[in-house]
Symmetry: C2
């Protein structure tokens, strides 16, 4: 079923469009057009709303949904991924830019584009170097915690638009404090409108689908699609209301004048001082955006037994971001909700994305004059409803039940994202996961084993009835030996030898679960070997894996080893206890 | 043999002096006094020299060799470790303080004391929290590379005293550039004196021992001891020369007025802005100092079949540093050379350290007036000879031969320490080792295995003649499964399944080398399970370890698993291929 070519030349792999394009047929076109129409309708309010969330003029959201989609259609390996502005990346972009203290809107727009350009450059570079693996540093629980916390943060940050007040801040404390100060200035017309839209959108999500399926007998898919494109009705409804009742005169904030026409093309220009400040955020946006996008692409590909190429995805997302930066947009990535809609609506190839781009171009040309009266409260309500679906605190419970280390990483991520900000949150989450992994592997499980009677098996003496010999101690080390646990292993072994001092003559390290021995561990083994030799105890190894043995052979360790290396633990036990018996000492 | 109490109460473990003090006898006293006399003579020039290296007045070196030794005698668990100023920590202290731009000498002295106080506080806190494990992040090769590079840096930094010129800098480029600029002002009297002392000290190290053993028939131990205390002759000789020929009048730089008497007691005071700048360096000094000291203590303890307690060592070194800070000293730790001298000279208990402190107190009271004429070139020569013995570039070769990853970590450490500075060097070394460890474990060795004919063993199909079955693929994963390799494992398995598409019905993951499965990996396994189920392929596990299984039972994974968990790979193979055979599909 998979059409991703594995026998194709390297340059052709860079342009997946050549592969799927060559086989494009009328049936594909049908599916792609349907999907494109539905996704376009869904994207109009979303792209405007996410631009608002990113602190940008509404049209920037539309611009970010045109050329990036075309770029992805050329380079992308997912059949159905829909790229464009997404909530979390918009929040991160806003967080990075608002700290720069830019004064003019045009500088802010340029800085957003530069951020997208940097992120695009990084993605392309990572693609060329096949560094997609860097994204693996983000563990699932950290991502889940981060998305949940970001969703909460975004929802709270949008409350000001519903209340019709001014507020700002990068974390829960700042935003809530700022909202509290503004409570005296609440605009009740805005509030009523905002709550109305919120109620409508929640009903769309929670009630409409059942109604359509139940009363109107629609299929689940059709009902779901109507629900997804529903927000566009809120947009047109509130535009009509705002125009008819002249709500701006009542203090309701509206989108205002939106330039009509195609996005401006060209390189964004910016101060070099601003550039360096953007490098850190660009790295984080790149990694978070990539991970989110690849997860969505992989999940959907698997459903149709298709495959994506994670390294080519770097190139494709990089191209999309560069295209966005050069055409008046800002940072983009593959979005979950829109990709699912695209998938469900029957998109068959990335051409659906290119067709969506045409739809949004038409919107940018013909629809923008009507956006003047669109209340920002409507967009805020769209954002709130969209991001609340991202919030899933159950990850805390799942992680707690499964392991305290995973829980700690999620907890740190959630709490710091909420209380300090997105960059600190995700950075601390990654640092915590790495630190805990090092900590766990630095305290390996070490079992003293003995022979299961009548067998060649050796098991933990604390868990099983096994045979042991007072002249021999066998320790099974359940971890690769490396710098973080080398010293501990030294202590453990010497400790054990001190306890068995009298009769002990052999220590066997059973290495069946030792996947690596690094130079630190090698030096520790050498030290143990010498120290045991001083005590008249021989050191042996058993069940050393091939690659580990190959490496040991490159050192002096095997020459200096006081004992032997045994192929199996059973050989070691047989030989060493037999040696012992005739010896009267 | 070991006297470290394991049945003693917790509070008594905090004061090892109570244990060894209770058994103290006349024989111990004899050994300790001899050792103390020799170490005192050795420490006089060294402590002055290291103070110079740290950019401090000479007497600070003496002060740092009095109370810290007493504190260590009370809290330390090593019988023979000699604490005091050491070369690498002095260099790090100088590097941290010179960047502060302090103008007065008294501020500089106070800042050095504060650095020691912070480091002492950190050590005590780490001891209380049993965080000695943090030191494990410093791999052996990184330490070796760092010590070698620091030794070179120190030697080069002392060249200015031998040349009698002014120079400064924190890395090789800065120091060499600065030396180059000063070459016109070389003081030839200083140069001749400096080279003379250097030649004498090198002869002490390289020629004297053989001479004493050969011509005078001294034992190796006695000859070695004379060699170690030899530098004190250079000190007294050049003082006499400097005074007799009035060398200061010829432009030879001398130590000058040194306050006589006991060190001043009290808390150092400093600006709070300086305090925060010192936190980072304090952390590095703490870890480097601790690792150096514990390694020395452990090596020497093993030689006499004694044991040290790494966590109690944190407390002891912390107490020593706090004592140093409160008595006019600066950062101290256990030194290699002096501890070996102490050991060789027959020190039997930490009382030797306390007796050394008495010796140095006498020196601070009675000897300081004579130090006025001591040329700084003499001290510089002492430092150069001492640190060149630390330089051992062979670690680069050893690491290269053993593994490229270890080599990369050493190389980064050496190059950055030399070219940028000590803090960057050691920081980058640690970061590189961690990054490479994550990278290696993120690309685990995965072998497809088959049955060795007529046995219950399963081996790599690429390396052995084994039996396989087209309906069954068994993958042995030689690594713990965690966030950094979870996604890769997903890709590998799906890749393999896509290749075997037609007949494949079972995938078995053989987990004999999987020591952990974290939440990320669990979620990947769940995803694989679902994706394989969609393809009509069952997922099975075999040889899952006890602790890993315990954890899996806390999740839904085992309920959702399409296949089974087999105790042994053989059971899996027997059952799954037998199931298959009567089935005509």
């Amino acid at each position: 079923m998979t059409k991703t070519a594995s026998g194709t030349p390297q340059w052709k792999k860079l342009f997946p469009i050549l592969t799927w394009g060559a086989a494009y047929n009328r049936q594909d076109l049908g599916g792609d057009v349907t999907a494109a129409v539905i996704v376009t309708i869904m994207l109009i309010p979303q792209s405007l709303a996410y631009a608002l969330l990113a602190g940008l003029p509404a049209e920037v959201g539309l611009y970010a949904s045109i050329l990036p989609l075309v770029a992805y259609a050329i380079f992308g390996t997912s059949r159905v991924l829909a790229v464009g502005p997404v909530a979390v990346v918009s929040l991160m972009s806003a967080s990075a830019l608002s700290s720069l203290g830019l004064e003019s809107v045009s500088d802010y727009v340029a800085a957003s584009a530069v951020l997208a350009l940097m992120s695009g450059g990084l993605l392309v570079a990572m693609g060329a170097l096949k560094l997609g693996v860097v994204a693996n540093l983000l563990s699932h629980p950290v991502i889940a915690g981060f998305i949940t916390a970001s969703g909460l943060l975004i929802a709270v940050s949008q409350a000001k638009h519903i209340l019709g007040i001014k507020a700002s801040g990068h974390n829960l404390i700042e935003i809530l404090g700022s909202l509290g100060q503004g409570l005296g200035q609440v605009n009740f017309v805005t509030l009523i409108l905002g709550l109305g839209v919120l109620a409508f959108l929640f009903w769309l999500r929670l009630g409409l689908s059942d109604l359509l399926q139940g009363k109107f007998g629609l299929s689940k898919l059709a009902a779901g699609t109507i629900v997804r494109v529903g927000p566009v009705f809120a947009v047109f409804g509130t535009i009509a209301l705002s125009w008819g009742l002249d709500l701006p005169a009542l203090g309701v904030s509206v989108v205002g004048t939106v330039p009509t026409g195609l996005p401006p093309l060209g390189l964004p220009t910016l101060d070099s001082s601003v550039l360096t400040a953007l490098i850190g955020p660009a790295v984080l946006i790149t990694i978070i955006g990539y991970v989110e996008s690849v997860s969505v692409a992989q999940t959907l590909a698997a459903k149709r037994r298709q495959k994506i190429d994670p390294n080519q995805e770097l190139t494709a997302l990089g191209a999309a971001n560069i295209a966005s930066a050069l055409s008046g947009g800002y940072a983009v990535t593959g979005g979950f909700a829109r990709s699912v809609v695209n998938f469900d609506a029957g998109a068959r190839t990335p051409a659906a994305g290119a067709l969506t781009a045409i739809g949004l171009t038409l919107a940018a040309i013909y629809l923008t004059p009507y956006l003047y009266f669109l209340p920002t409260a409507t967009l805020a309500a769209t954002i709130i409803v969209a991001v609340l679906s991202l919030v899933d605190l159950s990850i805390l419970k799942t992680a707690w039940n499964y392991s305290r280390a995973d829980f700690a990483a999620v907890f740190v991520t959630v709490v710091l994202t909420l209380l300090v900000g997105v960059e600190t949150g995700v950075g601390a989450g990654v640092a915590t996961s790495i630190a805990l992994f090092l900590w766990k592997t630095s305290r390996p499980h070490v079992a003293e084993v003995g022979q299961v009677p009548g067998s060649q098996h050796f098991r933990n003496i604390d868990r099983h009835q096994v045979l042991t010999d007072p002249t021999l101690v066998t320790l099974r080390i359940d971890e690769s030996l490396y710098f973080a646990n080398a010293r501990r292993m030294e202590e453990l072994i010497l400790d054990r030898v001190h306890r068995g001092a009298g009769q002990l003559r052999h220590v066997v390290l059973m290495c069946s679960a030792v996947n690596e021995i690094d130079l630190s561990a090698l030096e520790s083994l050498e030290a143990i070997n010498h120290q045991l030799a001083d005590l008249g105890v021989q050191l042996h190894l058993s069940e050393v894996k091939g690659p580990v043995m190959d490496r040991l052979k490159r050192s002096h360790f095997l020459d200096d080893l006081s004992g032997e290396v045994f192929l199996s633990q059973n050989c070691a036990y047989e030989k060493l206890t037999k040696d012992q018996k005739p010896d009267p000492s």
